[in-house]
Amino acid sequence: MPIYSVYVINRAGGLIYQMDHTQPKTEVEKTFSFPLELTLKIYDERVVVSFGQRDGIKVGHTILGINGEPVRGRQLEDGRDVLEMIANPENYPIAIKFGRPKLSTNERIMLASMFHSLYAIGSQLSPAQKSSGIQVLETDSFKLHCLQTLSGIKLIVLADPKQGGIDALLKKIYEVYSDFALKNPFYSIDMPIRCQLFDDNLKAVLETAERLSMYSSGIN
Protein backbone atom coordinates (compact mmCIF):
# COMPACT_ATOMS: atom_id res chain seq x y z
CA MET A 1 0.00 0.00 0.00
CA PRO A 2 2.21 2.80 -1.21
CA ILE A 3 2.06 6.54 -0.81
CA TYR A 4 2.67 7.89 -4.30
CA SER A 5 3.50 11.56 -3.93
CA VAL A 6 3.23 14.74 -1.89
CA TYR A 7 2.40 18.24 -3.13
CA VAL A 8 2.46 21.54 -1.24
CA ILE A 9 0.47 24.44 -2.73
CA ASN A 10 0.71 28.02 -1.48
CA ARG A 11 -2.16 30.43 -0.83
CA ALA A 12 -2.22 31.64 -4.41
CA GLY A 13 -2.33 28.17 -5.97
CA GLY A 14 1.35 27.96 -6.82
CA LEU A 15 3.19 24.69 -6.41
CA ILE A 16 5.94 25.19 -3.87
CA TYR A 17 6.98 21.60 -3.26
CA GLN A 18 6.56 18.23 -4.92
CA MET A 19 8.02 14.86 -4.19
CA ASP A 20 7.42 11.44 -5.69
CA HIS A 21 7.78 8.79 -3.03
CA THR A 22 6.83 5.52 -4.71
CA GLN A 23 6.81 5.36 -8.47
CA PRO A 24 4.85 2.36 -9.70
CA LYS A 25 6.35 0.74 -12.79
CA THR A 26 4.02 0.97 -15.77
CA GLU A 27 6.33 0.26 -18.67
CA VAL A 28 5.62 -2.40 -21.28
CA GLU A 29 7.95 -3.32 -24.12
CA LYS A 30 6.70 -5.32 -27.09
CA THR A 31 8.00 -6.25 -30.53
CA PHE A 32 5.60 -5.51 -33.37
CA SER A 33 5.44 -6.59 -36.99
CA PHE A 34 3.97 -4.52 -39.83
CA PRO A 35 1.27 -3.16 -39.73
CA LEU A 36 0.97 -1.92 -36.15
CA GLU A 37 -2.17 -3.10 -34.33
CA LEU A 38 -2.45 0.16 -32.38
CA THR A 39 -3.75 3.55 -33.38
CA LEU A 40 -1.38 6.34 -32.39
CA LYS A 41 -1.85 10.07 -32.39
CA ILE A 42 0.11 13.15 -31.48
CA TYR A 43 -1.15 14.73 -28.29
CA ASP A 44 0.64 17.48 -26.43
CA GLU A 45 3.86 16.89 -28.44
CA ARG A 46 3.85 13.24 -27.47
CA VAL A 47 2.96 10.06 -29.32
CA VAL A 48 -0.03 8.59 -27.49
CA VAL A 49 -2.02 5.37 -27.94
CA SER A 50 -5.53 6.44 -28.94
CA PHE A 51 -7.10 3.05 -29.70
CA GLY A 52 -6.32 -0.64 -29.25
CA GLN A 53 -5.51 -1.86 -25.76
CA ARG A 54 -3.49 -5.09 -25.65
CA ASP A 55 -0.84 -6.85 -23.54
CA GLY A 56 -0.82 -4.20 -20.83
CA ILE A 57 -0.63 -1.31 -23.29
CA LYS A 58 -3.44 1.09 -22.39
CA VAL A 59 -5.06 3.99 -24.15
CA GLY A 60 -3.22 7.10 -22.98
CA HIS A 61 0.21 5.45 -22.79
CA THR A 62 2.98 7.22 -24.64
CA ILE A 63 5.92 5.83 -26.54
CA LEU A 64 8.96 5.97 -24.26
CA GLY A 65 11.45 4.18 -26.43
CA ILE A 66 12.01 2.45 -29.79
CA ASN A 67 14.46 -0.45 -30.17
CA GLY A 68 15.97 0.43 -26.81
CA GLU A 69 16.59 4.08 -27.66
CA PRO A 70 14.73 6.68 -25.59
CA VAL A 71 12.16 8.94 -27.26
CA ARG A 72 12.02 12.68 -26.53
CA GLY A 73 8.57 14.04 -27.32
CA ARG A 74 7.77 12.91 -30.86
CA GLN A 75 11.36 12.29 -31.94
CA LEU A 76 14.17 9.90 -31.21
CA GLU A 77 17.30 11.45 -29.73
CA ASP A 78 19.01 11.54 -33.13
CA GLY A 79 16.10 13.52 -34.60
CA ARG A 80 14.21 10.76 -36.41
CA ASP A 81 10.44 11.22 -36.24
CA VAL A 82 8.64 8.44 -34.37
CA LEU A 83 5.53 8.36 -36.55
CA GLU A 84 7.62 8.23 -39.75
CA MET A 85 9.62 5.31 -38.36
CA ILE A 86 6.46 3.43 -37.50
CA ALA A 87 4.88 4.11 -40.89
CA ASN A 88 7.89 2.66 -42.75
CA PRO A 89 7.61 -1.14 -43.23
CA GLU A 90 11.42 -1.43 -43.62
CA ASN A 91 11.90 -0.69 -39.91
CA TYR A 92 9.94 -3.78 -38.80
CA PRO A 93 10.09 -5.84 -36.63
CA ILE A 94 10.23 -2.95 -34.17
CA ALA A 95 10.41 -3.02 -30.37
CA ILE A 96 8.38 -0.22 -28.80
CA LYS A 97 8.30 0.65 -25.11
CA PHE A 98 5.04 2.12 -23.80
CA GLY A 99 4.24 3.63 -20.43
CA ARG A 100 2.28 6.27 -18.59
CA PRO A 101 3.58 9.70 -19.54
CA LYS A 102 5.82 11.28 -16.92
CA LEU A 103 4.57 14.62 -15.68
CA SER A 104 6.89 17.51 -16.42
CA THR A 105 7.45 20.24 -13.84
CA ASN A 106 5.28 22.65 -15.84
CA GLU A 107 2.43 20.15 -15.95
CA ARG A 108 2.68 19.65 -12.22
CA ILE A 109 2.47 23.38 -11.62
CA MET A 110 -0.58 23.50 -13.88
CA LEU A 111 -2.25 20.58 -12.12
CA ALA A 112 -1.59 22.15 -8.74
CA SER A 113 -3.28 25.40 -9.67
CA MET A 114 -6.10 23.39 -11.25
CA PHE A 115 -6.66 21.65 -7.94
CA HIS A 116 -6.58 24.99 -6.18
CA SER A 117 -9.58 26.19 -8.19
CA LEU A 118 -11.39 22.84 -7.99
CA TYR A 119 -11.06 23.11 -4.23
CA ALA A 120 -12.74 26.51 -4.28
CA ILE A 121 -15.54 25.40 -6.63
CA GLY A 122 -16.17 22.33 -4.49
CA SER A 123 -16.89 24.55 -1.55
CA GLN A 124 -18.97 27.00 -3.60
CA LEU A 125 -21.28 24.33 -5.05
CA SER A 126 -21.93 22.80 -1.65
CA PRO A 127 -25.56 21.94 -0.88
CA ALA A 128 -24.76 21.97 2.84
CA GLN A 129 -23.87 24.89 5.08
CA LYS A 130 -20.27 25.92 5.70
CA SER A 131 -18.40 23.48 3.56
CA SER A 132 -14.67 23.36 3.06
CA GLY A 133 -13.21 22.44 -0.30
CA ILE A 134 -12.31 18.95 -1.51
CA GLN A 135 -10.67 16.99 1.29
CA VAL A 136 -10.62 13.50 -0.19
CA LEU A 137 -10.92 12.72 -3.88
CA GLU A 138 -11.46 9.08 -4.61
CA THR A 139 -10.81 7.10 -7.78
CA ASP A 140 -10.52 3.35 -8.26
CA SER A 141 -6.72 3.41 -8.39
CA PHE A 142 -5.68 6.11 -5.96
CA LYS A 143 -6.99 8.57 -3.39
CA LEU A 144 -6.03 12.21 -3.08
CA HIS A 145 -6.08 13.66 0.42
CA CYS A 146 -5.87 17.39 0.97
CA LEU A 147 -5.38 19.35 4.16
CA GLN A 148 -5.79 23.10 4.04
CA THR A 149 -4.09 24.71 6.99
CA LEU A 150 -5.39 27.86 8.66
CA SER A 151 -2.77 29.87 6.83
CA GLY A 152 -4.10 28.68 3.49
CA ILE A 153 -1.33 26.27 2.55
CA LYS A 154 -2.63 23.04 0.99
CA LEU A 155 -0.85 19.78 1.71
CA ILE A 156 -1.76 17.04 -0.74
CA VAL A 157 -0.96 13.36 -0.49
CA LEU A 158 -1.64 10.86 -3.27
CA ALA A 159 -1.91 7.34 -1.92
CA ASP A 160 -3.28 3.91 -2.55
CA PRO A 161 -7.06 3.72 -1.79
CA LYS A 162 -6.43 1.18 0.97
CA GLN A 163 -3.73 3.19 2.73
CA GLY A 164 -4.95 4.21 6.18
CA GLY A 165 -3.90 6.87 8.67
CA ILE A 166 -3.59 9.64 6.12
CA ASP A 167 -5.15 12.28 8.38
CA ALA A 168 -2.41 11.75 10.94
CA LEU A 169 0.16 11.73 8.15
CA LEU A 170 -1.06 15.10 6.81
CA LYS A 171 -0.78 16.62 10.29
CA LYS A 172 2.71 15.19 10.58
CA ILE A 173 3.69 16.67 7.20
CA TYR A 174 2.39 20.05 8.39
CA GLU A 175 4.59 19.68 11.45
CA VAL A 176 7.60 18.91 9.27
CA TYR A 177 6.73 21.89 7.08
CA SER A 178 6.56 24.28 10.00
CA ASP A 179 9.68 22.89 11.63
CA PHE A 180 12.01 22.62 8.69
CA ALA A 181 10.72 24.98 6.00
CA LEU A 182 9.21 27.85 7.98
CA LYS A 183 11.94 27.97 10.62
CA ASN A 184 14.63 28.04 7.97
CA PRO A 185 15.99 31.60 7.97
CA PHE A 186 16.77 31.39 4.26
CA TYR A 187 13.21 30.51 3.31
CA SER A 188 10.84 33.23 2.17
CA ILE A 189 7.16 32.36 2.51
CA ASP A 190 5.16 31.24 -0.53
CA MET A 191 8.33 30.46 -2.45
CA PRO A 192 9.41 26.98 -3.56
CA ILE A 193 10.88 24.91 -0.72
CA ARG A 194 14.47 23.90 -1.34
CA CYS A 195 15.72 22.49 1.91
CA GLN A 196 17.55 19.25 2.49
CA LEU A 197 16.27 18.88 6.06
CA PHE A 198 12.67 19.16 4.90
CA ASP A 199 13.26 16.52 2.22
CA ASP A 200 14.88 14.08 4.62
CA ASN A 201 12.30 14.46 7.37
CA LEU A 202 9.39 14.21 4.95
CA LYS A 203 10.83 11.02 3.53
CA ALA A 204 11.19 9.55 7.02
CA VAL A 205 7.58 10.45 7.88
CA LEU A 206 6.25 8.83 4.69
CA GLU A 207 8.25 5.67 5.28
CA THR A 208 6.95 5.40 8.84
CA ALA A 209 3.36 5.83 7.62
CA GLU A 210 3.79 3.08 5.04
CA ARG A 211 5.37 0.73 7.56
CA LEU A 212 2.65 1.38 10.14
CA SER A 213 -0.15 0.65 7.69
CA MET A 214 1.60 -2.50 6.49
CA TYR A 215 1.88 -3.59 10.11
CA SER A 216 -1.79 -2.90 10.88
CA SER A 217 -2.99 -4.63 7.70
CA GLY A 218 -0.83 -7.61 8.66
CA ILE A 219 -2.82 -8.03 11.86
CA ASN A 220 -6.19 -8.18 10.13
Binding site: T26, G122, L125, Q129, S131, L137, T139, S141, F142
Partner: protein, 145 residues
Protein backbone atom coordinates in the same frame (compact mmCIF):
# COMPACT_ATOMS: atom_id res chain seq x y z
CA UNK B 1 -27.90 10.51 6.44
CA UNK B 2 -29.27 12.74 3.75
CA UNK B 3 -29.52 13.00 0.02
CA UNK B 4 -29.19 16.63 -1.01
CA UNK B 5 -29.64 16.73 -4.75
CA UNK B 6 -29.11 14.98 -8.08
CA UNK B 7 -27.85 16.24 -11.42
CA UNK B 8 -27.98 14.34 -14.72
CA UNK B 9 -25.82 15.67 -17.53
CA UNK B 10 -25.57 14.43 -21.08
CA UNK B 11 -22.29 14.01 -22.94
CA UNK B 12 -22.33 17.60 -24.16
CA UNK B 13 -22.79 19.13 -20.74
CA UNK B 14 -26.52 19.87 -21.01
CA UNK B 15 -28.21 19.41 -17.66
CA UNK B 16 -30.99 16.93 -18.47
CA UNK B 17 -32.43 16.76 -15.02
CA UNK B 18 -32.02 18.35 -11.63
CA UNK B 19 -33.87 17.69 -8.43
CA UNK B 20 -33.17 18.63 -4.87
CA UNK B 21 -34.57 17.00 -1.76
CA UNK B 22 -32.93 18.80 1.07
CA UNK B 23 -30.64 21.60 0.14
CA UNK B 24 -29.51 23.75 3.00
CA UNK B 25 -27.51 26.29 1.07
CA UNK B 26 -28.50 27.84 -2.24
CA UNK B 27 -25.65 28.90 -4.48
CA UNK B 28 -25.38 32.61 -5.06
CA UNK B 29 -26.05 32.30 -8.80
CA UNK B 30 -28.73 31.38 -11.31
CA UNK B 31 -29.55 27.71 -11.77
CA UNK B 32 -28.27 27.74 -15.32
CA UNK B 33 -24.92 29.08 -14.19
CA UNK B 34 -24.77 26.54 -11.42
CA UNK B 35 -25.25 23.66 -13.89
CA UNK B 36 -22.44 24.99 -16.04
CA UNK B 37 -20.15 25.37 -13.05
CA UNK B 38 -20.96 21.87 -11.83
CA UNK B 39 -20.37 20.33 -15.26
CA UNK B 40 -17.16 22.29 -15.63
CA UNK B 41 -15.94 21.09 -12.27
CA UNK B 42 -16.72 17.44 -13.06
CA UNK B 43 -15.07 17.75 -16.47
CA UNK B 44 -11.94 19.32 -14.97
CA UNK B 45 -11.75 16.75 -12.18
CA UNK B 46 -11.89 13.97 -14.79
CA UNK B 47 -9.01 15.43 -16.74
CA UNK B 48 -7.11 16.28 -13.54
CA UNK B 49 -7.46 12.73 -12.25
CA UNK B 50 -6.44 11.11 -15.52
CA UNK B 51 -3.24 13.15 -15.67
CA UNK B 52 -2.45 12.97 -11.98
CA UNK B 53 -2.98 9.20 -11.62
CA UNK B 54 0.28 7.39 -10.90
CA UNK B 55 -1.17 4.08 -12.13
CA UNK B 56 -3.65 3.04 -14.84
CA UNK B 57 -7.27 3.02 -13.81
CA UNK B 58 -10.60 1.72 -15.06
CA UNK B 59 -13.44 4.03 -14.07
CA UNK B 60 -11.53 7.04 -12.85
CA UNK B 61 -13.09 9.56 -10.52
CA UNK B 62 -15.88 8.19 -8.32
CA UNK B 63 -16.45 10.61 -5.44
CA UNK B 64 -15.05 13.42 -3.37
CA UNK B 65 -15.69 14.58 0.19
CA UNK B 66 -15.50 18.01 1.73
CA UNK B 67 -16.01 18.76 5.40
CA UNK B 68 -19.81 18.74 5.06
CA UNK B 69 -20.95 16.81 2.00
CA UNK B 70 -19.95 14.03 -0.38
CA UNK B 71 -20.32 14.16 -4.14
CA UNK B 72 -20.82 10.85 -5.93
CA UNK B 73 -20.16 10.57 -9.63
CA UNK B 74 -21.07 7.88 -12.13
CA UNK B 75 -20.54 8.03 -15.88
CA UNK B 76 -22.01 5.62 -18.41
CA UNK B 77 -20.14 4.52 -21.51
CA UNK B 78 -22.35 6.84 -23.58
CA UNK B 79 -21.14 9.82 -21.58
CA UNK B 80 -24.21 10.39 -19.39
CA UNK B 81 -23.11 11.74 -16.03
CA UNK B 82 -24.95 11.21 -12.79
CA UNK B 83 -23.92 13.43 -9.89
CA UNK B 84 -25.45 13.02 -6.46
CA UNK B 85 -24.65 14.96 -3.32
CA UNK B 86 -25.20 13.25 0.00
CA UNK B 87 -24.07 13.69 3.56
CA UNK B 88 -20.66 12.34 4.52
CA UNK B 89 -21.77 9.11 6.18
CA UNK B 90 -23.04 7.55 2.94
CA UNK B 91 -20.53 5.09 1.51
CA UNK B 92 -20.32 4.13 -2.16
CA UNK B 93 -23.60 4.46 -4.09
CA UNK B 94 -22.30 3.27 -7.45
CA UNK B 95 -25.01 0.60 -7.62
CA UNK B 96 -27.78 3.05 -6.84
CA UNK B 97 -26.61 5.48 -9.53
CA UNK B 98 -26.35 2.59 -11.97
CA UNK B 99 -29.91 1.63 -11.02
CA UNK B 100 -31.15 5.17 -11.69
CA UNK B 101 -29.58 4.90 -15.12
CA UNK B 102 -30.64 1.40 -16.11
CA UNK B 103 -34.02 1.04 -14.42
CA UNK B 104 -35.31 4.62 -14.48
CA UNK B 105 -33.51 6.68 -17.13
CA UNK B 106 -33.44 4.00 -19.81
CA UNK B 107 -36.94 2.78 -18.94
CA UNK B 108 -38.80 6.08 -18.74
CA UNK B 109 -36.72 8.50 -20.81
CA UNK B 110 -34.90 6.56 -23.52
CA UNK B 111 -37.94 4.37 -24.20
CA UNK B 112 -40.28 7.32 -24.24
CA UNK B 113 -40.54 8.58 -27.84
CA UNK B 114 -41.79 11.95 -26.63
CA UNK B 115 -38.61 12.60 -24.62
CA UNK B 116 -36.06 14.24 -26.85
CA UNK B 117 -32.55 13.16 -25.95
CA UNK B 118 -30.13 15.96 -25.17
CA UNK B 119 -32.93 18.17 -23.90
CA UNK B 120 -34.05 18.65 -20.31
CA UNK B 121 -36.44 15.89 -19.21
CA UNK B 122 -40.05 16.96 -18.71
CA UNK B 123 -41.59 13.52 -18.22
CA UNK B 124 -43.75 13.49 -15.12
CA UNK B 125 -43.52 9.69 -14.99
CA UNK B 126 -39.72 9.75 -14.77
CA UNK B 127 -39.92 12.44 -12.12
CA UNK B 128 -42.35 10.45 -9.96
CA UNK B 129 -40.48 7.16 -10.32
CA UNK B 130 -37.13 8.78 -9.50
CA UNK B 131 -38.55 10.61 -6.52
CA UNK B 132 -40.11 7.49 -5.05
CA UNK B 133 -36.92 5.48 -5.66
CA UNK B 134 -34.77 8.09 -3.92
CA UNK B 135 -37.17 8.40 -1.01
CA UNK B 136 -37.09 4.62 -0.62
CA UNK B 137 -33.32 4.46 -0.27
CA UNK B 138 -32.10 3.45 3.19
CA UNK B 139 -29.87 6.49 3.50
CA UNK B 140 -32.63 8.98 2.61
CA UNK B 141 -33.34 10.81 5.83
CA UNK B 142 -36.92 10.21 7.02
CA UNK B 143 -37.47 13.59 8.59
CA UNK B 144 -37.38 15.35 5.22
CA UNK B 145 -40.60 15.59 3.29
Amino acid sequence: MTIYNLYIFDRNGVCLYYQEWMREKQPGMSQDEEFKLMYGMIFSIKSFVSRMAPVDFKDGFSSFCTSSYKLHFHETASGLKFVMNTSLNVSSIRDELQHIYSALFVEYVVRNPLCKLSQPINSQLFKTKLDSYIRGLPFFSAKVN
